[in-house]
Amino acid sequence: MGHYVPHTDEELVSMLEFIGLDSLDQLFECVPEALRLAQADFAVAPGLSEFDTAAEMERLARANRGSELICFAGAGAYDHDISSMVRRIGMRTEFVTAYTPYQPEVAQGVLQALFEYQTMVARLTGLEIANASLYDGATATVEGVNLAVAATGRSTVWLSDGLHRRWAEVVCTFAAGTGHRIETVPLSDGLTAWPEPGAEPPGAVVVQYPNRLGCLDDMTAAAKVARATGALLVVAFDPVAAGVLKSPGEWGADVAVGEGQPFGTPMSFGGPYLGLFAARLEHVRRVPGRIVGETVDLEGRRAYVTTLRTREQDIRREKASSNVCTNQTLIAVHCALQMSWLGKSGLRELGRRCAQGTRYTRDALLSIDGIEPLVGAPVLREFAVKLPVAPELVIDRLADEGFLAGVVTDDGAGTDGLLISVTERRTRTEIDAFVATMEKAIR
């Protein structure tokens, strides 16, 4: 078993003596006797050695045959290459085992990394302010909605059905507490079909770009709807696509939210991921979570510190607009490292390569008799197809052949499809084999 409590028997005796006790059990005399657990009643197996533990974890890891599938799945989680540099530097123990930077004089490393992260997220989104991270794309969307509702004083939310369904579910879950009225706006052939402004104007207009079917939604239309109704425009963006697409800020977004996993974080069975959050400067006092700011120390040297702290829950308590405390700092640091490594030209090249792989795969699949596009709108780095057999069946068949074929989706009007994503990791050989296998699997 592990030896992470270092006291020797002699030390235990002397420490107990120092505090006037005879036994370790006496430490818990403040717990009513009826509540004290007999050791025999605590049914947790005895500890293992480090090496036996590692063997059990390896057994479980090996049972995940999915880790060896060639990945064509996306839908918010993507199979990108990560530089060794990100792992080596990002997993340095000072980043990994630090706490939230409450004492800035000994936390300049994390604080400066977050300041650089905020700057890069702001530049990528075309907005002025970014926070120091949220949990994931879905929960960042919730916070974006909350900001918009607070800023406008209107609790109706127009949510494009182009938002990932799982993200929309999370928005609805938390709306049960806040009382927001979530109105889902349907897609028509892959693009959001915004309604005419009605009696109850929305506080937030939420659109995903590219959307859950991979389509480039009509952002001019979304911005127009937001302006016409007086709502804030919340854009759920994909940071890889943002390397080649107009930024949320250029489209008129007031808030941009997104999933930061594609930059430096493995797919990890869904977490820990990274909620990206950026906004226009006028909303800074409603931004959730931590914000790192630059300042100086007593000698006038540049220094960093978490700032505008009076927004946060530990000071504002029940009047805080968000309850976020622990965030995803380490993942944000990894993201900052990967973004720095990709750099100005690399980010663009990454988006371009994903689009090239997607185009090549899509063209090949659509040349197969029986495979059709699910919707007609233009796509970038993932696309949905209609198959002659159930997509669940196709996924199972391709998994047996070594491919993760995609994620089941629908066009919003009841037609099931398969959403296929192609990253810069997929080689032509892999794609050709995937297409050939798919051709057999749909017969």
Binding site: S67, G109, D297, L342
Partner: protein, 504 residues
């Protein structure tokens, strides 16, 4: 002991660099490239052939242009300006900054865990589902609860999940309650979560013992109260010994009891929230179960519930079928998803490996070590600071610098900064709110007697410096990568990105 050599004191801190580290943007040179891409042989196409003109970004985003070698040096130098558990003791009260076994890092980093797409069919993720199922079961055993969701990615997320479970329960009873009771010693996330859960916070005061004032609580309990949120041991490090009576009183009016697991480390294998009468329990795996804090996250905040609340849990949950195969299932009356996928899965894997390596016997020793260390340190510091609630505590205690402030005009804030110069991280300051000049100290079980002695001596030295009366601590720390940071200026002249810096 008069002096000691300790593994937990970062005496080499003065060696850390005091020169400014340039930002990655200042280190950039136009045209410099670090990025590489694998060879794919996928046909290249021009942007204009791939992207409709109206969507195409005109100018690339201004990311850094830095070579890999310089970037690695930059990142490494940043880590030299950062304190961490692996450098020395971190007695931050309420944060449980224990040593994180390296075994857990390696276990979570196995490709069999890390390289799995979350939408992979369950037949290909049996190891993940089995691990999550086993972790859920052992967390239920540790807390004495019936069922659990592992999805909330942090403690505050767990709190809000718990409050939405309360709402769902209320609605299922055909009622709409409006208030949740919280002690005045509670963490700030509690009232913030209550508001987001759609309830109104009612504060109950602590009595002279530092515990919930049971009479005052009874005065606040009525048919509008959905429940109470309690941390036990509370944020003073004291066990709420009236908990059975409190639970009965809350249940009597039909309310639920919510357990904030921030301080669960103190009671592992000793007593269980379920046995105390709690209905909803969140755990901070990044505190109790050694998931490293990562500079502020990621954590994990699973929520366990009693049997009557299990049908409302967020989905999906891992369940094992009669055939031994694991699958996902969402409870019939689920409140819905609380995370885009299944929570912070790799953090969950770390926690599971930590529980395996410690086992039931080891977890009990964790609690014993944590409580012993905190009591020892309280006794050791009695002559140095006021101890407002000077009686047996659990994993942490709250000292007060009121004596030093009165005698020498030195605040808790300055004491904390002084401690940084001694090679230790400071305790939590000014919390809980009910103690003036609070220094909340949680040594954790992984610090040795030698480190505790060194920490005590460091506190004593700082108190001696305060007593000299020449205001030396007002400018502390001196030996850290930067000196005292001007926090007011950061808020007054907001510079939240490099682009917001004033020109020149």
């Amino acid at each position: 002991m008069t002096s000691t050599i300790s593994g937990g004191q970062a005496t080499s801190i003065p060696m850390m660099g005091r020169d400014e580290e340039p930002t990655v943007f200042e280190l950039s040179v136009p045209g410099r490239v670090a990025a590489q891409f694998r060879t794919t042989d996928v046909p290249a196409l021009a942007d204009s052939d791939l992207i409709p003109a109206e969507h195409l970004r005109a100018e690339p985003a201004e990311l850094p242009e830095i070579g890999e070698r310089d970037l690695v040096a930059h990142g490494t130098r940043l880590t030299h300006r950062q304190y961490s558990v692996d450098l020395g003791a971190y007695p931050l009260g309420s944060c449980t900054m224990k040593y994180n076994p390296k075994l857990c890092d390696e276990a979570a980093g196995l490709p069999g865990f890390a390289a799995v797409h979350p939408a992979t069919p369950p037949a290909f993720t049996q190891g993940w589902l089995e691990m999550l199922g086993a972790l859920g079961s052992v967390l239920c055993e540790i807390t004495g609860m019936h069922d659990v969701t592992l999805a909330p990615p942090a403690g505050a997320s767990g709190e809000l999940t718990g409050l939405l479970l309360m709402r769902a329960w209320d609605e299922a009873q055909g009622r709409q309650r409006t208030k949740v009771v919280i002690p005045d010693s509670a963490h700030g996330t509690n009232p913030a979560s209550v508001t987001l859960g759609g309830y109104e916070t009612v504060t109950v005061p602590s009595d002279e013992r530092g515990l919930v004032d049971v009479k005052a609580l009874r005065d606040r309990l009525d048919e509008d109260v959905a429940g109470i949120m309690l941390t036990n041991p509370n944020t003073l490090g004291l066990f709420e010994s009236d908990i059975v009576e409190i639970a009965a009183a809350v249940h009597e009016v039909g309310g639920l009891l919510y357990y904030d697991g921030a301080n669960l480390n103190a009671i592992l294998g000793v007593t269980r929230p379920g046995d105390m009468g709690f209905d909803i329990v969140h755990m901070n795996l990044h505190k109790t179960f050694a998931v490293p804090h990562g500079g502020g996250g990621p954590g994990a905040g699973p929520v366990a519930v009693s049997e009557r609340l299990a049908e409302f849990l967020p989905g999906p949950l891992p369940v094992q079928g009669a055939d031994g195969q694991w699958a996902w299932r969402t409870p019939a009356r689920s409140i819905g998803r609380v995370h885009g996928w299944y929570g912070n899965a790799l953090a969950l894997a770390r926690a599971y490996s930590y529980i395996l390596v410690n086992g039931g016997d080891g977890l009990r020793r964790v609690a014993e070590g944590a409580v012993l260390n905190a009591n020892w340190l309280r006794h050791r510091l009695r002559g140095t600071f006021d101890i407002p609630y000077d009686r047996p505590n659990m994993h942490e205690f709250v000292a007060s610098a009121t004596n030093i402030k009165k005698a020498h005009g030195v605040k808790a804030f300055d004491i904390a900064k002084g401690l940084l110069d001694e090679g230790f991280h400071a305790p939590t300051m000014y919390f809980p709110l009910i103690v003036a000049e609070a220094l909340m100290i949680e040594p954790t079980e992984t610090e040795s007697l030698q480190t505790l002695e060194a920490l005590a001596q460091a506190f004593e030295r700082v108190a001696e410096i305060a007593a000299v009366g020449d205001d030396e601590l007002a400018t502390a720390p001196q030996n850290t990568p930067v000196g005292r940071v001007d926090e007011a200026r950061a808020a007054r002249q907001l510079i939240a990105t490099y682009d917001m810096r004033p020109p020149g």
